[in-house]
């Protein structure tokens, strides 16, 4: 971003590029204390790199423990014969990513100079690696040559870029560049068959066709093709697409994808079609038509407060259904109870859509889509899975980590916004309740909350009702992170000027309209950077589920792999891999949030 602007302005005299010797003098040896610092810390750095390389490449390290267990670390015990479902999930995400990149038209450009810098520093890194790593002389020479080639290539790029004058030659678009980079990574799977070891007669042997690279090169190539293919195809037809609708659709798909991919694709529910035809479809139809009819009536402009009263009556009925469920007064399908609550909530916002026929029909269509999706998901969740599992869940390893993190973020966001609104509202009881909740949750460590939900929550449930361990974890984590999220949103809410509230009141908006159209859009825009920071925190702290016994990637690396007879006590290798994976995800997210922060700071509209 900043790269972009400095190039675009162009008027500013080009920064005088200093010669390397001058750069070194200014940054490393400008005066005596500086020189001493450079020498001390330079030596320290070399020692540290040597130590780390020695540790990582030492003959005692058993990296094959990680390579052999790669599938376990990523997806734990997902049935091998159904593994194509995991790839399908990844493929769906690739298609969505390609679509989004094309629709939001990633127009960012990278300067060639920056790329040449990267190439040169990689080369330099390789050279340092070759000089310090405890490896044989011949391979040392190989690494040195590779490093020298990269440096030379980088210098060549730099020279070329220096002579070019126009912006298009100075820079290349980011998206194709990243595709190319990913392509090279995928290609390397075909060239270098790393990562495969198997035990044959008690000895480790690399078996052709069964290494990590071998077994994943085809799927990863397909993933790459899907990503690039979708991007190119969408770019071709982009002009003829209604962009606003396409964006709305994509956002909806992204929000739905975790639910559908997890419960439908990965879990593979065994639908009972007889029951679906006899019960589920009529039920959905009933809610769509009768509920839609009620909503259509409630959205009548001339209705006045009768609409509000009806909505409140519906809400009371909806809540009462749950009370009755706990006491077992009358049976009712869970789906119906949820639908009634949804209906009541829709009825509450109905007056906001009270306008001409077209708007009201749109509202009712939205209701129909909501019912279709929610009923489908509920049916899918309630159908038994067809997977033959060894472990407790079909999710495990990194997939579990991602699932818990994403679900927690998605669920805690609305809750956090509600809590923030409650805490800043003018209603004292709501304020006290929200403040008390937020502060007491923020006062205790996450692990105690997770213990509470995995150990103690079952005590609070009516007898006979059970909650799956994973559901308990996600519930607890959601309630926890919502409190933190609420504080971030509150910061944004407080930045909205009082005049905005008054102006909204003065033009006659209702409280909910004021909140939805005026206050929240402004507040959320301000709180995006802290919210991304919060998301990073949620992702990192997902590792805590390992303590309460869920098989996430950390638990597998820390407890499962070291317990295998072949790799007894081999722990550090797995933990290092876990660190690297967490680092890559968290680091790229934090870089992204820094860019967002710059953009929010710049484009104040």
């Amino acid at each position: 971003m900043s790269e972009m602007t400095s190039i675009k302005t162009g008027k500013r005299p080009e920064e005088v590029s200093r010669s390397p010797s001058e750069w070194i003098r200014q940054n490393l040896f400008s005066n005596i204390p500086n020189t001493i610092l450079t020498i001390i810390f330079g030596i320290f750095t070399l020692y540290a790199i040597r130590g780390i390389l020695g540790f990582v490449l030492s003959g005692e390290r058993r990296w094959e423990a990680v390579a052999t267990n790669m599938r376990l670390l990523m997806a734990q015990g997902y049935p091998a014969n159904q593994f194509v479902r995991v790839w399908f999930t990844l493929g769906c995400l690739m298609v969505l990513t390609g679509l989004s990149l094309a629709i939001w038209s990633g127009k960012g450009r990278l300067s060639v100079k920056k790329i040449s810098n990267w190439v040169m520093s990689t080369g330099l890194g390789l050279a340092v690696f070759a000089a310090l790593a405890p490896i044989s002389a011949s391979s040392r020479l190989g690494w040195v040559i590779a490093g020298a080639l990269l440096i030379a290539g980088g210098l060549g790029l730099w020279q070329r870029a220096k002579n070019k004058t126009t912006e298009t030659l100075h820079t290349i678009p980011t998206v194709p560049f990243s595709f190319g980079f990913l392509g090279i990574l995928v290609l390397s799977l075909w060239v270098v068959p790393f990562g495969h070891y198997a035990f044959t007669n008690g000895e480790l042997v690399a078996e052709t066709g069964r290494t990590v690279a071998m077994s994943t090169k085809l799927p990863f190539t397909v993933m790459w093709l899907l990503l690039v293919g979708t991007y190119c195809l969408t770019n071709l037809v982009r002009e003829s697409l209604p962009i606003a609708q396409a964006k709305a659709c994509l956002v909806g798909l992204w929000l739905l994808s975790p639910f559908i991919l997890n419960w439908i694709v990965l879990r593979d529910p065994d639908f009972d079609y007889g029951h679906i035809v006899s019960t589920d479809i009529p039920l959905a139809a009933l809610f769509i038509f009768v509920g839609g009819g009620i909503l259509f009536m409630l959205a009548k402009p001339s209705l006045g407060e009768i609409g509000r009263l009806t909505a409140i009556a519906l809400l009371i009925f909806g809540v009462f259904n749950w009370v009755a469920a706990f006491f077992g007064w009358y049976p009712m399908l869970q789906k119906v109870r949820i639908s009634f609550v949804l209906l009541a909530l829709a009825a509450l916002i109905a007056p906001n859509f009270a306008a001409d026929r077209k708007t009201r029909l749109k509202f009712v269509t939205g209701w129909a889509i909501l019912i279709l999706i929610s009923h489908w998901l509920i049916t899918a969740v309630n159908s038994p899975s067809t997977l033959e599992l060894q472990g407790p869940t079909y999710l495990g390893g990194f997939s579990l980590t991602l699932f818990v993190a994403i679900l927690t973020l998605l669920l805690s966001f609305p809750l956090g916004v509600l809590l923030a609104l409650g805490r800043t509202s003018s209603m004292p009881i709501a304020r006290v309740l929200c403040t008390g909740y937020i502060e007491s949750i923020r006062g205790v460590p996450l692990i105690t909350i997770l213990f509470f939900f995995s150990n103690i929550l079952p005590l609070f449930l009516p007898q006979g009702m059970e909650i799956a361990e994973l559901a308990a974890i996600v519930t607890g984590y959601t309630l926890f992170s919502a409190a933190y999220l609420a504080e971030n949103v509150r910061g944004g809410l407080q930045s909205v000027m009082r005049g905005q509230y008054e102006a909204a009141d003065a033009i006659g908006l209702t409280t909910s309209q004021r909140t939805g159209f005026i206050v929240l859009p402004q507040a959320l825009r301000v709180s995006i950077p802290p919210l991304v920071g919060q998301a990073i925190g949620v992702f990192k702290e997902t590792s805590l589920v390992a303590i309460i016994g869920a098989y996430d990637i950390l638990r597998i690396a820390n407890n499962v792999v070291p317990a295998q007879t072949e790799f007894l006590g081999v722990k550090r290798e797995g933990l290092l891999l876990v660190s690297v994976i967490y680092f890559i995800v968290a680091f790229s997210m934090s870089k992204y949030s820094q860019r967002l922060e710059e953009r929010v700071g710049l484009g104040e509209r």
């Binding site: 610092l37 609070f460 660190s579």
Partner: protein
């Protein structure tokens, strides 16, 4: 005034709208509805819990605090606690020890790394960035487990492990030289408190002299000199304060004689007094010159809330948790008894001592001797984890705070001809500190909460002990309540301390 308005015809409009259209009533109803829902949910859940617990033959309550839990702790002031309460107390002490040491070292390291990130030297700058970016993007738990496993792979403890009995490391943990508080410390501390007052007096006198004459009287140096003199004299004559212990002894006896009911009534009286005082102040703040207080619905709610809060507190004191008051009495009596012993007579050693670590072999295996400061494997893993992790965050806080001081401030100080050190001390630092303090306090809070990850490496902190005790006795719910209270108390303490400094800084600013 009202007499004249009544005859005006327009007042015929003046009627209450139906309740569902009255803004005040709707607001009220909504809130009361929400509150009722919350209370109902809580009541319902607790009744379920009661049923479930009785079905499993588990009783609620805190009686386990005085029952032998039958557990062994890996380390702490008491590794075989006689009661559940004692076990939790050991856990709390371990947590506090870990948090205090962590805060101290994380602050120092964070400060240096933060300054390094501002350095002009490229190597130093980059090293700082790499430290920060690496450590804060790897989950703390992963780091703790990694450090734990690296430590666990160190060699077995032998007589020649480490550096010449200065630092010893092995898979049993780390041992370093320690400076410890010796017997005479407490009497010496009393002496030092008096010294602090004297130093304060010297400081005031010298700065007054500076104001009057304009000469440089170095008040800081003067007061430090006074304190040093007191420290040195106190080193030799501190036993004269042996009688302080008796005072604590009297207090301890006195407290243990208080009947339980008296404390209950006292606590209730405090609750009522606080609520009444608050209501009185509130009503006074809403009073108009016209006389009677004009209360909006919000205000009425606040008053009712304060009253209900006091009622709930009293209810809790007498009915829900009658053991609370006896617990308070016993523990505060214990506290003063401990103080009595610490300050008591007959202690003639110096205030401090220092010793190097050693390896001993009492039986078959080598172990660390008692002379060094020994960190067990678990402690060391969590300690390194929280210190390095928090230091990375503190470094960012420090860097942000210093960068937040506008460049114009430095230029202004330079233009006044201030020396670099004076500008730093009087202009930059106060402003930077004001930005740094609140997020720094947050980091301290996070660190304290993060000590709970000790459970992953088996260090006996409060959560680990609580989890064991809870599983042993089935009193998970009560343990959870104690966790919450403890961590809330820690949070409160830290925020009070940070706020105190913040207020001081604001005075500096003026």
């Amino acid at each position: 005034m009202s007499a004249t308005t009544e005859v005006k015809p327009s007042n015929q409009h003046h009627q209450r709208p139906p309740f569902y259209r009255d803004a005040t009533v709707v607001k009220w109803l909504f809130q009361v509805g929400a509150l009722a829902l919350v209370i109902f949910a809580l009541w319902f859940l607790s009744s379920q819990a009661r049923d479930n617990l009785s079905a499993r033959n588990i009783s609620t309550g805190f009686d386990f605090l005085s029952v032998d839990p039958g557990i062994n702790l890996s380390e702490g002031i008491d590794t075989r606690p006689a009661t559940g309460g004692r076990a939790l107390w050991v856990g709390m002490v371990n947590t506090i020890r870990l948090a205090a040491a962590g805060i101290f070292f994380a602050t120092i390291i964070g400060l240096f790394i933060g300054l390094a990130r501002l350095s002009n030297n490229w190597v130093v700058n980059k090293l700082g960035s790499i430290f920060v970016e690496t450590l804060r993007n790897i989950p703390l738990l992963v780091q703790i487990l990694l450090y734990g496993s690296i430590l666990a792979n160190l060699g077995d403890l032998q007589f020649d492990s480490g550096w010449d009995n200065w630092i010893i490391w092995s898979n049993k943990g780390l041992s370093v030289p320690r400076v410890f508080i010796a017997d005479g410390f407490y009497q010496w501390a009393v002496f030092m408190i008096i010294g602090a007052f004297a130093a304060r007096w010297a400081y005031n006198r010298r700065s007054r002299l500076h104001d009057e004459t304009g000469e440089n009287t170095y008040p800081w140096i003067g007061s430090l000199a006074v304190l040093t003199v007191f420290a040195i004299i106190g080193w030799f004559i501190h036993p004269i304060f042996g009688w302080v212990g008796n005072i604590f002894g009297f207090i301890s006896d006195g407290i243990s004689k208080i009947p339980e009911e008296a404390l209950q009534f006292l606590l209730s009286a405090i609750a009522i007094f606080v609520a009444a005082n608050w209501i009185r102040g509130f009503l006074r703040s809403r009073r108009t010159p016209g006389g009677a207080a004009r209360l909006t619905d919000d205000d009425k709610f606040r008053v009712i809330f304060a009253g209900v809060g006091a009622g709930i507190a009293i209810f809790a004191i007498f009915i829900v948790w009658p053991g609370l008051s006896s617990w308070i009495i016993n523990s505060s009596s214990d506290l003063f008894e401990v103080l009595e012993n610490k300050f008591g007579d007959g202690r003639t050693g110096g205030p401090f001592g220092a010793d190097r670590p050693e390896v001993i072999k009492p039986g078959k295996f080598e172990k660390y001797g008692p002379s060094g400061l020994t960190m067990s494997l678990g402690f060391a893993a969590v300690f390194f984890g929280i210190v390095l992790y928090t230091a990375a965050f503190i470094a960012e806080v420090v860097r942000g705070g210093i960068l937040a001081v506008p460049k114009g401030q430095i230029e202004a100080a330079n233009s006044l001809g201030m020396r670099r050190s004076a500008a730093l001390r009087t202009v930059i630092l106060p402003q930077a500190l004001r930005v740094i303090m609140p997020p720094l306090g947050n980091q301290y809070l996070n660190l304290t909460k993060n000590t709970s990850l000790a459970i992953a490496v088996g260090f006996s902190d409060l959560v680990q002990v609580g989890q064991t005790v809870g599983n042993q006795t089935g009193k998970n719910l009560s343990v959870f309540a104690i966790w919450m209270l403890f961590y809330l108390a820690c949070s409160l303490t830290i925020s009070v301390a940070v706020n105190f400094f913040n207020v001081r800084l604001r005075i500096v600013e003026r």
